[in-house]
């Protein structure tokens, strides 16, 4: 028996490959890390320019246009609301509760090349203690296959037992699964609160990633907002920064997310992923309802317009955690 003759079983290989690609596509930037750039300083003038760029005074923001007037108005109103509605106060012993419904796309390819696409739903319930160094509690429903686009896929999923894996997790500092980074992978205290500098800082972190420079900046903003833990001043700055991104527009006036209706603001992309990132804001209150990714072209059995990933969040303060 020669080990060099062993191969990864073909059927597993195809399916794992498909799952991995889906996973990578679903969370391309979950673990984003600022890219280190090396700058060579030769003269005092260059140093001055570098200082301006480093301080996010000079960058991609501002001079290439911005969101449409209507989208900017919704975003700027949301920013005003965020500033005026103070963050809920979490007293010692209490928890900030972030409840969310999440939908993720799933897909599988069989050895004969036939593909199946469907959507999973996962309910998340996060309890953040008043002192973040205390124990956090996270209740996860696991991914439950919920939406099918044809009967054969439903049958396939039922046959293959894609069972959810419910979890109850506890960790100080939100370091679930031993992750040292904690809950939010971005250092929020380091982000500028001035919208123009904030957007330059975002561009610097996302440049070269995602399907387009501006699309990726909006994805960064949506990723951060959906954590549910962004402080009001930064939330306001993020809305205003989104209003300065070229191509950002109102994509749907009556967008329904998890039973709540709001205005969808997004950016139509021409990149390879054929998806559009949107954030959804309650027009009446200016509060964030959630975010979603919309398919702009059919993919397998999923028609164009399908929300292949979305998160609706709700935050509140509670006295107890499970």
């Amino acid at each position: 028996m020669n080990l060099s003759e062993v191969t990864y079983p073909k059927d597993t290989k195809y399916r794992v490959q498909n799952l991995l690609v889906q996973e990578a596509r679903r969370k391309p930037n979950l673990f984003r890390r600022p890219r280190r750039t090396r700058l060579w300083l030769t003269t005092a003038a260059a140093a001055a320019v570098v200082a301006l760029v480093a301080g996010d005074v000079v960058g991609l923001a501002g001079w290439r246009g911005g969101a449409t007037a209507q989208a900017a108005e919704v975003l700027n109103n949301a920013a005003e609301t965020a500033i005026m509605t103070a963050d809920p106060v979490v007293n010692p012993g209490q928890y900030l509760r972030v409840k969310s419904t999440n939908v993720w796309g799933s897909a599988s390819t069989e050895a004969d090349g036939s593909t199946y696409e469907w959507l999973d739903t996962e309910k998340l319930d996060l309890y953040i203690p008043a002192d973040p160094a205390d124990e956090w509690v996270w209740v996860r429903s696991g991914r439950v296959p919920t939406t099918f686009f044809d009967a054969r896929t439903k049958e396939y999923v039922e046959k293959n037992d894609f069972n959810p894996l419910p979890e109850l997790l506890r960790a100080p500092n939100g370091s679930f699964y031993g992750s040292p980074g904690g809950w939010v992978h971005t250092d929020m205290s380091a982000l500028p609160r001035d919208p123009y500098r904030l957007l330059n800082s975002i561009y610097k972190q996302t440049l070269g990633k995602g399907q387009s420079v501006d699309g990726e900046a909006l994805v960064f903003i949506a990723d951060l907002l959906r954590t549910g833990v962004v402080p009001a001043d930064l939330r306001a700055a993020l809305y205003k920064a989104a209003a300065m991104i070229p191509g950002v527009t109102i994509t749907e006036n009556q967008a329904n997310l998890d039973g709540r209706t709001g205005i969808a603001i997004g950016r139509t992309e021409e990149g390879p992923s054929k998806t559009r990132q949107e954030i959804i804001i309650d027009a009446a209150t200016g509060l964030l309802i959630g975010e979603r990714a919309i398919l702009t072209e059919p993919q397998g059995s999923m028609p164009a317009g399908t929300a292949i990933g979305w998160t609706a969040i709700e935050t509140s303060v509670t006295n107890t955690a499970p």
Binding site: S4, T12, V16, V21, A24, G142, G178, K209
Partner: protein, 203 residues
């Protein structure tokens, strides 16, 4: 698929999931063999392959391929993933829950099943026997035996996988061989491969 590993990897760092899929396709077999020779269980090895690639995607900003293969780096990720297997499986639990395990009992003809099951058990037994022969070695020596002798990875590549100098790999191999010879258990190298043949096999 004429793109080099380095080109595909650069695509990965910009978030291109399809490039990642192409790299998986290219290296899954070699990574699987390595995982199997690490844990000795077919089922665990299948899981370990997924964890390795999930971790590779997660860490994709860290790698700058120096030469044109990412395999040594992937094997390094697999080495760490195997050491943290319990923790890694928890971290990726929701992914692994969706993971199909190949089951020779499903689909195909009866005779093929029997054969598939038999060859799978053969492979597991062979790996376990090989791993038993390394019982007297320390961790560092076992690493190079598994990489170079069981998987036919070149010494330079093994050095990059383990993050040590080639000289260290050479001396560990030398010590391991001496110990194995003393126990009269020198495992037959899978293939005598130098770096160029390893790379040729990858392309």
């Amino acid at each position: 698929m004429g793109e080099t590993d380095e080109e595909l990897w650069r695509e990965c760092t910009t978030g291109n999931a399809d490039a990642f899929g192409a790299l998986f396709d290219r290296h899954a077999d070699a990574v699987f063999r390595y995982c199997l020779s690490r844990c000795g269980s077919w089922h665990d090895a299948e899981e370990l392959v997924s964890i390795t690639f999930l971790e590779a995607w997660r860490q994709r900003d860290r790698l700058r391929p120096e030469r044109d293969t990412v395999l040594p780096w992937l094997l390094g990720v697999a080495t760490n993933a195997n050491r943290n297997r319990a923790r890694g499986s928890r971290r990726h639990a929701d992914f692994l829950a969706r993971l199909p395990h190949s089951d020779p009992r499903h689909g195909g003809h009866e005779a093929d099943h029997a054969e598939a099951v038999a060859s799978r058990l053969d492979a597991e037994r062979a790996v376990r026997e090989l791993l038993e022969t390394t019982a007297g070695l320390n961790d560092g020596e076992r690493d190079v035996v598994v990489l170079c002798l069981m998987n036919g990875i070149g010494q330079d590549e093994a050095a990059r996988t383990l993050g040590v100098r080639t000289g260290t790999v050479k001396s560990r191999l030398h010590r391991a061989r001496a110990k194995l010879a003393a126990m009269n258990r020198d495992p037959e190298p899978v293939e005598q491969l130098d770096t160029t043949t390893v790379e040729a096999r990858l392309s």
